[in-house]
């Protein structure tokens, strides 16, 4: 379904004519139409080509007092939307009777009418599925031919999400979020032990396949990661302890997202380690001067979203400025109570989900940057890191100085401030042999980890992608930092191990 049709449906659902409602009630209507094509190959053969079309409407209804109810339906018609409105209002009224927490913030918004630009350069079906199969098969086979000792799985996903959000106040906002990603996952074996390696390249459309055909950058990364995984299979474990660390930008994105971003979301402030009496601890020194954390949508990015799921402009927020906590990620419902401005932070997985404040692209930037020369391969780059640290007198003189490579995900408890991250493997750059170790959990207290960040190595890389699982939803997330970040040894930040 086209954006214009969806917008007309949302407009019709909300128009007064024929609308059975009670005076003073308020509605937010979210309509979404989604197309997705997924192509997956394993060891040279297609395993799956899946086409998905889904669309529907979700309605949040509010009684005049501010009790909320929600209903959704897997259909995109005026009738279905009106039915969902009725159900949502009935639930809101029921909710009022059980003494629900009331929230009238939505009534205070100003109306907005806007149409976001589509950042894709190619139409969703610019290439037919047959053509895409040829392209993905070519890239997959080229990889398999070069890395024949590895079991390879390649997945290409292309998504187009069209959203329209309408509100009782006349707001009508629509936008298109295109996404594309090519992933190569390899399983390697060495001396009876198996490891997985993953490399991915994202964009907004099938153009990324053309770019990959041209420059093979993902292929090279996948082969290097598989080789690294093979060496990790037979690597020793690291004694647990506290070390000076270097983390790559994927891990830095994880640190910024999991360990910090979630702790400044407005709906968490009562329980967050960065909140006090339910308010953001604005002005708190959370990192060294020169450290900045910024969140906001970047056009062409995996997690791009120009408007919130509540129909507000998504703002770019400088969360930490020069080491000081300045602002949080506030949605309309909880920002005021959390002591922060509304920044349009509400995002939802789909029309069937209730929007929550969450990040888009979060990046961690340090004023002190050491230029890292371009290199042709992973271990060459690690050698360059060692050389640069030696030159600048930054390398640990005694003991280990560990570089954590590859982000495998993380988790945080915003209440206690405990975080954990996992990497693909660890390299001791203080050792001229660049000894590789098994991955072990990188864990600690979020404020200690932030305070430990000192220097950035290389320019900004903000294309580390992932999926935010907050509230049981799956929403694209992204971010990054300098190519590497240096963290001082800290008693509250450790690596697990034996």
């Amino acid at each position: 379904m086209k954006r214009k049709e969806i917008t007309e449906i949302v407009q019709s659902i909300l128009q007064a004519e024929g609308l059975e409602t009670e005076e003073g009630c308020y509605y937010v209507v979210r309509a979404q139409s989604r197309r997705e094509w997924t192509l997956r190959l394993t060891n040279g053969r297609f395993e799956r080509v899946l086409t998905v079309r889904e669309s529907g409407i979700g309605v949040q209804a509010f009684t005049p007092e501010g009790a909320a109810g929600f209903a959704s339906v897997d259909a995109l018609t005026v009738e279905a939307g009106r039915e969902a409105m009725k159900r949502a209002l009935a639930l809101a009224q029921r909710n009022a009777r059980i003494g629900a927490e009331l929230n009238q913030e939505i009534f205070k918004l100003s109306p907005l009418r806007a149409e976001g630009d589509n950042p894709a350069k190619l139409e969703f079906d610019q290439f037919s599925l047959e053509e895409l199969q040829e392209q993905v098969l070519f890239l997959h086979k080229r990889l398999v031919d070069k890395g024949s000792e590895t079991s390879w799985q390649s997945t290409y996903r292309q998504v187009e999400d069209i959203w329209c959000i309408g509100r009782t106040d006349g707001t009508l906002v629509s936008y298109v979020v295109p996404r594309a990603v090519l992933m190569h996952q390899g399983t390697v074996r060495e001396q009876g032990r198996a490891k997985n390696a993953l490399a991915q390249r994202s964009g907004v459309d099938a153009n990324l396949l053309l770019m990959e055909k041209e420059d093979s950058s993902l292929e090279q990364k996948a082969l290097e990661r598989a080789d690294f995984a093979r060496r990790v299979c037979i690597a020793p474990s690291l004694p647990s302890g506290h070390y000076p660390l270097i983390i790559d930008y994927g891990l830095a994105k994880g640190l910024a997202h999991e360990a910090f971003g979630h702790a400044v979301e407005s709906d968490h402030m009562k329980e967050s380690v960065l909140g006090e009496n339910g308010k953001l601890k604005k002005g708190l020194q959370v990192a060294r001067p020169g450290v900045h954390i910024i969140d906001g949508p970047l056009a062409g990015d995996w997690a791009y979203q120009p408007y919130s799921a509540n129909g507000l402009v998504r703002e770019t927020v400088e969360i930490v400025k020069d080491g000081v906590l300045e602002a949080g990620l506030g949605d309309v419902f909880s920002a005021r109570e959390a002591g922060m401005p509304v920044t349009g932070a509400g995002r939802a997985e789909s029309y069937g989900s209730i929007p929550l404040p969450r990040m888009t692209n979060i990046r961690l930037i340090v004023k002190d940057e050491l230029a890292l020369p371009n290199t042709s391969g992973l271990m060459d780059e690690v050698s360059q890191v060692r050389k640069l640290l030696l030159e600048k007198g930054e390398l640990q003189q005694e003991g280990k100085h560990l570089l954590l490579l590859g982000y495998r995900g993380g988790q945080v408890n915003p209440k206690t401030g405990d975080f954990v991250f996992q990497c693909d493997g660890i390299i001791d750059v203080a050792d001229p042999e660049l000894t590789i170790y098994q991955p072990s959990i990188f864990s600690g207290k979020i404020l200690s980890a932030l305070q430990a960040i000192r220097v950035g190595l290389g320019g900004g890389c903000y294309d580390a992608i992932g999926t935010c699982g907050k509230g049981g939803q799956s929403v694209p997330s992204s971010g990054g930092s300098h190519r590497y970040l240096l963290l001082d040894q800290d008693e509250n930040v450790s690596l697990g191990g034996e």
């Binding site: 394993t42 060891n43 297609f46 080509v49 899946l50 086409t51 998905v52 079309r53 669309s55 949040q60 009790a67 909320a68 109810g69 929600f70 209903a71 959704s72 339906v73 897997d74 259909a75 018609t77 639930l91 809101a92 029921r94 909710n95 059980i98 003494g99 629900a100 927490e101 929230n103 037919s128 599925l129 047959e130 199969q133 079991s151 799985q153 399983t187 198996a194 490891k195 997985n196 299979c233 647990s240 709906d267 329980e271 419902f333 209730i354 495998r408 995900g409 988790q411 408890n413 209440k415 206690t416 405990d418 954990v420 991250f421 072990s440 959990i441 864990s443 450790s494 697990g496 191990g497």
Partner: protein, 440 residues
């Protein structure tokens, strides 16, 4: 017209009278879900907050699988089309599906209908809730708020779902049945939580036991306990065992992963019934258990539900085989499990949890871990953080300790001193292991 009827009619017609030479269909199958769900929530002691309002979701969606005359395959997910012009819509979709077709000779198979087992997967009380008699769910919400001690932040969710599952294929399979789901979860101060998920409502005694256990754990978390030492055994709680099975065992027992060399286990290790775990341990898929979350009558591929032993006496027996994998494996399709919900781990030496607990001189009970999803499935290695764990001394839970864990789950299951403890409410056991554990 319902989605299942539309698809059935359209695919029958497209098969019998193809509209174009290249649109000839040899066989097809569909799986359609019609579902509605009601959910209620509590956020920080407030019922029905703007983030957890009473919510009603209604949906109808289908998975389509087509084998074209030339043997190519198509998979697609669909919803009900716009009311007007449904016929033209499906014709347009058919053309897109054809474009999306791919070659996979081993995947091209549709099973003949077979007798189905009798499995209880519906609770009529849940049907009534979704029909509007939903007072019970609101009463449960009120009870949670009433019973929570002052000063504790309660977050909770209650969900009831009801619907139809339709499985059809071109070889005459036509199965429709009703199924229900009920899930309850809550946490105290985001530190300790409990959950219940089955195809039936929770019973009052189960509710009470769950609440009582959570209160005991929460109380114990308020006091610091002595540090762990070299003698301390690690006790994984049932929810952590479920996560460990999901991260390290389930993905390595998928037939396709084994056939493609992406699993920790190899095909010839199954053929040789290699001993991989302790010989007291069995692991199996069982979709026949009445009213369990992972129970069903027929797989999405149209294969009748069946219990399948994956590991017997610690030895590899068979992977989880879908039709395509079974053909390559040279065996029949097995029971399948959606995640670990239908996966059961048992030991001939297992004892009731209370008895196991009373026998632990020095242990640490792991209620939850941070970072499970980040672990490398193929290696079995784990390196996890477990803040808010409970210290056990002389058979009693005595207080809180934050620990880190490192080990290998395959080795945990192979070790002769590993003990399983069963609790009636839980589908996964407690697991007592000797593994790497450190104070944080």
């Amino acid at each position: 017209m319902k989605l299942v009827a539309q698809l059935e009619e359209f695919l029958h017609s497209a098969k019998s009278t193809p509209s174009r030479n290249d649109l000839g269909i040899r066989d097809w199958r569909i799986l359609v879900h019609e579902a509605s769900a009601l959910s209620l929530g509590i956020k920080e002691n407030s019922p029905g907050s703007v983030y957890t309002p009473p919510s009603y979701r209604q949906g109808e969606s289908g998975d389509i699988y087509i084998i074209w005359e030339d043997g190519r395959l198509t998979q697609a997910q669909v919803q009900v089309p716009p009311q007007h012009g449904a016929s033209a819509y499906w014709q347009m979709q058919l053309e897109e599906w054809r474009q999306a077709s791919y070659e996979d000779p081993e995947g091209a198979d549709i099973p003949l209908p077979e007798p189905l087992p009798i499995v209880a997967v519906e609770d009529r009380e849940i049907e009534r809730i979704l029909a509007g008699e939903d007072e019970l769910l609101f009463e449960q919400l009120a009870k949670l708020l009433q019973d929570i001690q002052p000063g504790i932040n309660l977050n909770a969710s209650i969900q009831a779902g009801w619907g139809y599952r339709h499985v059809r294929n071109s070889k005459g399979l036509a199965v429709s049945y009703q199924q229900s789901q009920y899930a309850l979860s809550y946490s105290f101060d985001s530190l300790v939580g409990s959950g219940f998920a089955k195809r039936r409502l929770i019973r009052p005694e189960e509710w009470d036991n769950l609440w009582k256990r959570t209160k005991i754990y929460y109380k114990a978390l308020q006091d610091n306990a002595p540090e762990i030492n070299a003698k301390t055994v690690v006790v994984f709680s049932p929810s952590v065992v479920g996560s460990l099975l999901g991260q390290f065992i389930f993905p390595n027992l998928i037939g396709q992963s084994i056939l493609e060399g992406q699993s920790a286990f190899k095909a010839d290790e199954f053929k040789a019934n290699k001993l991989v775990f302790h010989e007291d341990l069995d692991l199996y898929v069982d979709p026949l258990r009445p009213l369990e979350w992972g129970s069903y009558l027929v797989t999405p591929e149209g294969v009748p539900a069946q219990k399948t032993v994956l590991i017997k006496n610690g030895s590899l027996q068979t992977p989880i085989l879908r039709i395509k994998d079974a053909k390559k494996w040279g065996a029949s399709p097995t029971g399948v499990s959606s995640g670990t919900s239908g996966l059961y781990l048992e030991s001939r030496q297992e004892k009731p949890w209370e008895e196991v607990l009373s026998g632990i001189e020095d242990g640490i009970l792991i209620l939850s871990v941070l970072g499970m999803h980040t672990q490398n499935s193929a290696s079995g290695d784990y390196s996890l953080s477990a803040p808010q764990s409970l210290r056990i001394l002389k058979g009693k839970i005595v207080g809180k300790r934050d620990v880190k864990l490192s080990g290998n789950f395959f080795k945990d299951l192979a070790f002769s001193e590993t003990i399983l403890g069963q609790e009636e409410m839980e589908t996964k056991p407690y697991l007592v292991v000797r593994t790497g554990v450190q104070n944080m």
